[in-house]
């Protein structure tokens, strides 16, 4: 397995070997699916759309509906305007969504199609909407694409129509699973606070089996809600990379104050999330949540010896692995390698913030580790080859490294293509942290059982 990965590093500048990121449009497509009655549309040649739909369908095991402008060589030479106009007409005539959310691809970006002008010049049926986001894949990653489409929702739809802000919070959950979105909504509801979550793929990409196929499942943020985000008192952006841009835009556009927090993975980040809601809305944290928190901490204390001192490698999307790093640190583990494929800054904004944030967490814990943004799994594997770890946490692609190096592996993040429960069960909130504890604990203990001699094989651990 991965036999050609050498231990010795060579300087590489020719690109990426075994990526830990993918391209913008899939993130935009995922975000757009989080609008109720929305059909994502990929403006480019049809291969991109096909790839993105396949990948989403594999991760969620759900239909991922989207259309494409089906560029041919002619469109690449003369521009894709005519294709997009035809597509808009056909999409509303045949698939009848309320919203069509257009994103670009490398091709239409390189050509330089001006999407908003094309949309403005096209007749859209009464009561229907076309929104768009530019998602050039030669910048950022799928996380950037998610962020850009979420920004598109704000720029097209959010409006401040009231003199005074409403007692409601906007929550941008970031590129997380529907199960995580549900959990974040549950926490907010338990706090007794009205919320608008956008995008919200719960009820869309985790829709139930009913014996009936519906093109647009029940879930997703409604257009009226998206408009109303401009009237909210606060926007909580969960995750710097996937969510903060849209929150900041909303602040500029509609004067809704924005706070950016970590994806609430683990005790600390969940505490911070609840505290932000508590202080902003003057609402006490209910006993039910205090109890959940107490249970989580109880388990952490009771089982700390399963985790303490274990060396961990973590890779994936920056918002998720920032939360994961903080959580494993709170268990006394040592996240010695933390790597994302996404660049560690925002497009046009400051760079290196990912590395800085993780490095300061490690510093505080007195751990020497390696942190890398815009990295690849080839590099991560080399690090592991040089100094092994006890556990690997990441998306499905990690299984090859785990097998090559014979290390326990826990799947968290996107995509997970070889196991099935991840879209449903959260990793966020106190409950999500319990689930992570179970996943990590089981991986470590199953390994200990596997490797134990008969005489050391224990009933109670």
């Amino acid at each position: 397995m991965l036999d050609s990965t050498p231990k010795e590093f060579i300087e590489r500048s020719g690109g990426v070997i075994n990526p830990a990121k993918t391209c913008q449009p899939i993130g935009a497509m995922y975000a757009a699916l989080g609008i109720h009655n929305c059909l994502p549309h990929s403006h480019g040649s049809q291969g991109c759309c096909s790839y993105h739909r396949m990948h989403l369908a594999r991760h969620f095991r759900e239909p991922a509906m989207a259309t494409t402008s089906s560029f041919t060589e002619g469109a690449s030479v003369f521009g894709g305007g005519a294709n997009l106009k035809t597509a808009i007409k056909n999409v509303f005539a045949i698939y009848n969504p309320d919203v069509m959310a257009v994103h670009t691809t490398c091709l239409s970006e390189t050509i330089g199609d001006d999407i908003s002008t094309i949309i403005k010049g096209t007749e859209v049926p009464e009561g229907k909407l076309v929104i768009h986001a530019n998602t050039p894949s030669y910048q950022g990653s799928h996380i950037t694409g998610f962020s850009n489409m979420t920004k598109g929702m704000v720029s097209y739809l959010a409006e401040a129509t009231l003199a005074a802000k409403k007692e409601q919070v906007n929550i941008i959950p970031g590129f997380v699973n529907p199960g995580d979105m549900r959990e974040i909504k549950r926490l907010t509801n338990l706090m007794g606070i009205n919320l608008i979550m956008f995008p919200d793929t719960s009820g869309v990409l985790d829709s139930p089996m009913t014996g009936r196929f519906v093109m647009y499942p029940k879930g997703g943020v409604k257009v009226e809600e998206l408009r109303d985000t401009g009237n909210s008192k606060l926007t909580v952006a969960l995750g710097t990379y996937a969510s903060s841009d849209a929150a900041n835009l909303l602040e500029r556009k509609c004067k809704v104050p924005a706070v950016t927090l970590k994806t609430p993975i683990g005790v600390k980040a969940t505490d911070e999330f609840l505290m932000a809601l508590r202080q902003s809305f003057i609402k006490e944290v209910p006993y039910q949540l205090e109890e959940e928190r107490g249970q989580l901490v109880d388990i952490m204390v009771d089982t700390h010896y399963h985790f303490h001192g274990k060396r961990v490698a973590i890779f994936g999307d920056p918002d998720i692995i920032t939360g994961l790093t903080e959580f494993v640190l709170s268990l006394g583990m040592k996240p010695v390698y933390v790597l994302t494929g996404t660049p560690g800054g925002t497009v046009g904004g400051p760079q290196g913030i990912f590395e800085k944030e993780i490095a300061s967490m490690l510093d505080e814990a007195g751990i020497e580790g390696k942190v890398k943004a815009a990295g690849d799994l080839f590099r991560l594997h080399q690090w592991i080859k040089n100094e092994p770890v006890d556990l690997l946490i990441g998306n499905t692609y990690g299984k090859y490294i785990a097998r090559a190096e014979d290390i326990p592996f826990v799947r968290v993040g996107f995509p997970i293509l070889d196991r099935s429960m991840h879209p449903y069960l959260p990793v966020v909130g106190y409950k999500g942290a319990m689930r992570l504890l179970e996943l990590i604990g089981n991986a470590l203990l199953d390994r200990a059982d596997r490797d134990a001699g008969d005489e050391d094989f224990e009933l109670v651990m």
Partner: protein, 540 residues
Amino acid sequence: MAVDEKVLEEILNSYPAKVKRTRKKHILLRDSSLDRQEIEANTRTIPGIMTNRGCAFAGCKGVVLGPIKDMVHIVHGPIGCAYYSWLTRRNKAIPEEPGKNYLTYCVSTDMQESDIVFGGEKKLARMIDEVVEIFKPNAITISATCPVGLIGDDIQAVARAARQKHGLSITAYNCEGYKGVSQSAGHHIANNGLLEWIVGQGDWEEPPGKYTINMLGEYNIGGDSWEVERVLKELGYHVQATLTGNGSYEDIKNAHVAELNLVQCHRSINYIADMLEKKYGTPWLKVNFIGIRATCESLRNMALYFGDEDLIRRTEEVIARELAEIEPQLEPYRKICAGKTTFCFVGGSRGHHYQGLYEEIGIQTTLAGYEFAHRDDYEGREVIPDIKPDADSKNIPELHVVPDERRYRPKLSRERTEELKDKIPLSNYQGMNITMKDGSLIVDDMNHYETEEFIRTLKPDIFSSGIKDKYVPHKMGLPSKQLHNYDYSGPYAGFRGAVNFARDISMSFATPTWNFIDPPWKSRPLLEGTIEKPSQEGEA
């Protein structure tokens, strides 16, 4: 309910007029009384239609080049295209030289904005250097993605320079995603490159043994080619090269020595088959190792081609033995599947190939079609001269091949060729249409709307296609089978593969999980009880 012209018309009436006009030409109701039924295929998908089609890059790197295991396949472009074509197709491989299997590696130049603006050739050249240093592969391919052609990167020049620098086979494929109208363009581009630069580069002049063959258009999904080779080897065939499942550069470069080329997937590889015939005088035989009857027939045709009595006899023996082994295993599955119907909509050949196997377990195909085939895959190769090139097909270069001065050697005499052509599909494919039952539907580039409508009207018992439309029928309570990647199972080819297929299809019917779709409270009233008769006492 069957679909007739009237029902079809009603379904198509929901389309805008222009769409309707176009789509109508891609749909046929099979009628064998007609001399010829023409279908439109390999033409543009209408923008905004939810197609299953992919792009030229997917056909070139994803389908044809990607499975070659001892080559490193570099993707020149932004990250996505390389990422999505990494390990997602289930083309299995075992390295021949230890460590020389690069299928688990995804190598991309990961173009950034500055590369788009200033050009990415230098970065590509650096990537090649790094790949040579790290992997020491036997050969390297470079596939272009959408923006590369537009910004004018000359990947052919970069490959040429790298070939000289490293003394390795380093070849480039201009398979930008906008070329042609589907994956098909990419198959063609990859076929051209393999023939021009790789096949024949080896120095063998003679086949290494008796009955040396190549297997073309077999991608070893789920281990298919291993199951086929098990039988072929036993019969004494030597498979020189498989294009391209479990294939290797080392084998392919000597593929010119074969005495016969087998064509499994006609769509994706017929160009190479054709060019090998022109260049080396080696005929090709259309085979189909999906389905029991088709497998037997393919084996018999091969034996007939070589015309060796002993081979013919042994072929019958092996067939008899294999059948005796699998027939009893199939019985219980046939009981479950009998009388059911299916749709069979796959890429370029499986839409046809799987119909026979389905039939053998008792399932009729009521609708079939291809995602990216050409008219010849439907109507047979005799229509090829009638296919008019259009703007989209014209931009795929045709490779003009001439007989190789040294190596051209007709493998059969003219008389023998004619004699065989009457008996076996030698250098010929008759297409899917003639094998389909009257009244069944043939749909080219079927889209989501049509999928939904045809399921509603024809009510198949199982749907077979790919991952993009797998979960749509599931939501309707209908089993669905991925025939691109076999739902992570396989092999389905050959004799034992048929049993696996029957087992999996039966499982999708037999699983108790379907029984829980309706919650009990939907069929039972909330309040239950008997209404008591008014008491009699008052009357007394």
